[in-house]
């Protein structure tokens, strides 16, 4: 060989040695001829070990699929085809798989095929980064779907644990001075064991930001930090329980490397995200930082959502309390109603007792006074007979008062049955009945248009009887007596009916006495009566949720009004 050729070979050897890729040549029988430095590093065999042997015996790890793949490649080479760069897996001498890009080409000497050359590029690192990024992409999809912080943390840890990466999530407290662990994924059995050992909960301790340098940098300087040996952290000024926990976990898991990234929403730091693995690089920082931003946004969204949900549930709770209060109120109303009903029963029995017990002696007074007149009239002078007749009259008047009082009590508690009532026809028929005996000729009845009412017919009839009979009674000395009946509608969904007479009227300063029981503005000699009629009117109208009132002037007549709710209005 000439010097020139020698030099050239030496040069090529140097080239081969300096190429970082593994370059392997073999003869047509596949025996290895050359095994460069790159091949030694990649596969772990020295050139001396490899040369003369076959590739299929060295870098398949004994895996059938790789043996098949190599056989397929050889077949193609023999057909004259080369193998373009292809991603695949080969095994090192120590059995560890490596991701490689492999290409194979023919070696020629002139026209003669003398063997093949294969080149392997180590892409294990690239592959690792790809897997990390893919895992975080999957986690990103998961956290975007999550509605609660807990779901977010689980989604993150689930994906990262798949590729052997643990994570921890801390919230920055309100003072922005402490980090509170909210999620620790360090494989849970170790956490649990450590918690059991120390009797502490890993999630309870606030960690001052400045006690750990990596935390300080991440939070204060807002930059992601790579830590090559986690044990450094535990040596720092962590609160003791946390230090014990962290040490225990890192030791058991043999975790060494970690990346700390601030969790930021807009320009606000809300917490800290850290990942731990044996297999992290400083070069992973951009990927982890990008993921931390996604996590921060999702977390804040979930917090807002949770807050809204708490507000809603607080409102629902408040509504529940209102309902409870209402039920309590209803219960009390029911109790009071029951008490009132029992009081009414007592009143009823009192009324019965009045009717029975007071009327019996009255009957006797009346009856015996009459016997006196009938049987002993001859023994009495005129004055004696007059005295007897006063006794009889007064006893009878008391009987009427008791009857009126009983009527008043009965109307106050009678069950009401509501019907639509033709008020105009009712007023006319009551008037006709009242005047059939005394004669209506002297009375000028001016009956206006009266709208129908929704009321109890029996009770409302009593109202007309009492009002019209009063009008007739108190205007009987007038020539002619004029009685007007009419109606108006007020703004409050009530119809007002009124009865006006041109009779004796009353002084407005006594108006509040008109509707009281037994309150009378006239003596029995002037105008007979029991003093209960208007009290009954008031009672009946009040039971219909209406109102009664009156206006009048002495000797110039009186007007009595009552209002009733109209159809469709609440009563």
């Amino acid at each position: 060989m000439s010097d020139e050729k020698e030099n050239r070979l030496l040069f090529l050897e140097n080239v081969l040695a300096s190429i970082p890729d593994a370059v392997v040549t073999a003869d047509t029988q596949h025996n290895i001829l050359e095994w460069n430095l790159g091949a030694e590093k990649l596969f772990g065999y020295s050139a001396a070990e490899a040369c003369g042997r076959k590739l299929v015996d060295l870098i398949t790890g004994g895996k059938a699929e790789i043996i098949d793949e190599i056989a397929y490649c050889i077949q193609k080479i023999h057909k004259g085809e080369s193998i373009p760069p292809t991603e695949t897996i080969r095994y090192r001498k120590d059995g560890i798989p490596v991701n490689v890009i492999m290409s194979v080409a023919h070696l020629w000497s002139g026209d003669e095929w003398i063997g093949g050359i294969s080149v392997y590029t180590d892409i294990t690192e690239r592959k690792r980064t790809e897997i990390l990024i893919e895992s975080m992409n999957t986690a990103t999809i998961g956290i975007q779907k999550a509605m609660e912080p807990g779901q977010i943390f689980t989604a993150v840890s689930k994906e990262l644990e798949k590729i052997g990466v643990s994570c921890a999530i801390f919230a920055l407290n309100e003072s922005k001075e402490n980090l509170i662990p909210v999620y620790l994924s360090y494989r849970s059995q170790y956490i649990r064991a450590a918690e059991k050992l120390t009797g502490l909960s890993a999630l309870k301790f606030a960690i001052p930001i400045d006690s750990v340098e990596t935390n300080r940098q991440a939070i204060r300087e807002r930059k992601s930090v790579f830590l090559s040996d986690l044990k450094e952290t535990t040596k720092q000024a962590l609160p003791r329980p946390i230090a014990i926990l962290a040490d225990s976990v890192t030791r058991h898991l043999r975790i060494k490397k970690s990346i700390y990234a601030p969790l930021m929403v807009d320009d606000d730091v809300i917490g800290l995200f850290s990942v731990q693995s044996d297999d992290l690089r400083e070069s992973d920082i951009p990927a982890i930082t990008a993921f931390a931003n996604q996590l921060a946004a999702a977390w804040q969204k979930a917090q807002l959502y949770e807050k809204a949900r708490q507000e809603i549930s607080a409102r629902i709770e408040a509504e529940g309390q209102i309902r409870l209060l209402n039920e309590e109120l209803e219960r009390r109303v029911a109790e009071r109603t029951a008490e009132l009903q029992s009081a009414n029963k007592e009143l009823e029995s009192l009324a019965y007792s009045i009717s029975h017990d007071l009327r019996a002696p009255l009957r006797a007074i009346n009856g015996y006074a009459q016997i006196l007149v009938e049987d002993y009239g001859s023994a009495l002078d005129e004055e004696g007979i007059r005295v007897c007749s006063v006794i009889v009259n007064e006893a009878q008047r008391m009987g009427r008062l008791i009857d009126a009082l009983l009527t008043f009590l009965r109307l106050g508690r009678a069950d009401m049955q509501l019907f639509s009532i033709d008020m105009q026809a009712l007023a006319q028929s009551v008037f006709d009945e009242l005047t059939i005996a005394s004669g209506a000729e002297q009375i000028d009845l001016r009956l206006g248009v009266l709208p129908d009412a929704i009321a109890d017919p029996f009770l409302i009839r009593q109202v007309w009887v009492n009002l019209l009979s009063n009008a007739v009674k108190f205007s009987r000395h007038r020539q002619p007596a004029i009685i007007e009946v009419g109606s108006t509608r007020d703004a409050d969904h009530h119809t007002i009916y009124w009865v006006r007479d041109n009779g004796v009227g009353f002084d407005m300063q006594h108006v509040d006495k008109l509707f009281g029981v037994f309150n009378r503005l006239h003596s029995d000699q002037e105008f007979e009566g029991t003093g209960v009629g208007l009290a009954i009117v008031q009672r009946v109208i009040q039971r219909h949720s209406g109102r009664v009132w009156a206006t009048g002037e002495v000797n110039r007549g009186a007007t009595f009004f009552f209002s009733l709710p109209t159809k469709g209005s609440n009563s």
């Binding site: 009823e348 009324a351 019965y352 009327r359 009346n366 015996y368 006074a369 009459q370 016997i371 006893a395």
Partner: protein
């Protein structure tokens, strides 16, 4: 005719004044001779069913009408009414309830038990007389009419 056979009206009334006035009213219409009076519910039942001190009457029962006050000592008027109306020997006897007031809730109960009529004892003595004697007469007449059939 034995004296017991004359009795056609039984007056059950515990108030002596009401009783006296009632008797006076009936006497005015010549009905008092046929009247017998008891003062409580227990005695009324003894008389009607011919038991106790009225055992001598046996089952013979020619009562034309019972005028029955409701508020009575021992056994009250409603129970007396129930006994009369639930016994086949006596249920045909007309019973007129006498009450102090229209408002008496017992009036309804009395009608449900089969009372034939009721009269409110008015304060007015004359009204009372008229009401009592008319009721008495009416039921005497009705009963006689039905007896003749």
């Amino acid at each position: 005719m034995k004296p017991v056979d004359i009795v056609e009206i039984l007056l059950v009334e515990d108030n002596p004044q009401d009783a006296e006035l009632t008797v006076r009213g009936l006497r005015k219409r010549n009905l008092a001779n046929q009247l017998f009076m008891v003062e409580d519910g227990a005695e009324a039942l003894d008389y009607i069913f011919g038991q106790g001190k009225y055992a001598y009457r046996g089952h013979l029962n020619n009562l034309k009408v019972v005028l029955l006050d409701l508020k009575l000592p021992k056994i009250d008027g409603l129970q007396v009414l129930k006994a009369i109306k639930s016994d086949e020997r006596t249920y045909m006897i007309p019973v007129v309830i006498m009450t102090s007031s229209n408002e008496d809730p017992d009036i309804k109960a009395a009608y449900e038990l089969g009372a034939n009529s009721y009269v409110v004892k008015p304060v007015d003595f004359d009204e009372f007389m008229v009401a009592m004697s008319q009721v008495g007469l009416y039921w005497l007449l009705v009963n006689q009419t039905s007896n003749r059939r």
